[in-house]
Symmetry: C2
Subunit: 144 residues, 2 copies
């Protein structure tokens, strides 16, 4: 019988192995995991705040700030002041950031194909949906 502990174990092992391979691929281009994650999130939606980036990346404000400063120095992003909330920054991808994301994304493609290779379309849908259920359960736990 499957327990919550089995899920926790499986999640940890699967993530660890994937993460290590991802890191190793990105390192070949001089990038780290968090840098890639932030670029990917900005590709999905540009102009969001640091706080929103932090939440979506499941990271923390300090790490996000340090990473953004680095990405800014390398011309990948720009930080513009928010129009209505003068405490906040809006983060925007530059063209260079967009090109870099495409390059890194292509480099990771074979690994992501390997992730998908064990599943047919329906199984893959179910897996992602179930992972999202875990995310929701953990967010509820965070508050309760």
């Amino acid at each position: 019988m499957t327990t919550g502990r089995d899920i926790a174990r499986g999640l940890r092992t699967a993530y660890m192995l994937m993460h290590r391979q991802t890191q190793s691929l990105l390192a070949g281009y001089g990038f780290t995991a968090v840098q890639y994650v932030l670029l990917a999130l900005l590709k999905i939606e540009d102009g969001i705040t640091q706080q929103e980036l932090t939440r979506r990346a499941s990271s923390d404000p300090n790490t996000v700030r340090a990473t953004l400063l680095l990405l800014e120095r390398h011309g990948m992003v720009v930080r513009r002041s928010h129009k209505t909330d003068r405490r906040a920054w809006r983060i925007l991808l530059t063209d260079k950031g967009r090109r870099t994301y495409s390059k890194l994304s292509a480099a990771l493609k074979p690994l992501q194909d390997a992730l998908l290779s064990s599943f047919n379309a329906e199984e893959a849908d179910t897996l992602v949906a179930n992972l999202n259920h875990i995310v929701e359960a953990m967010r509820r736990w965070e508050q309760g």
Copy 2:
């Protein structure tokens, strides 16, 4: 349509949120994630080598060594020399280690129940099986 990237994202987000909650619960007892993972692995099978522990924990030899030294100082494990291979150590749980594992495991139970709560028995089985498929795919990738 679900892509490998969707799986990677879901896996990362789900793991990160779970890991943070786990760490926070363990910290209340003065333990870290790796310490708990090693105790849990030894609970499953006692007397395995450091190398085997490293592999099962998806960790690295240095972290495992440092963690075992700490656990040994606290009387949780003992390291006995291997009978036939004098390079290797066999790691064994002490009674105190066993009791400690039970305590930590009980502390994590509510969180693990929350992980399980979104699923019925069949869905949970499928999820764990699918996570294992990812593990296998990543291990194949490691070598190929």
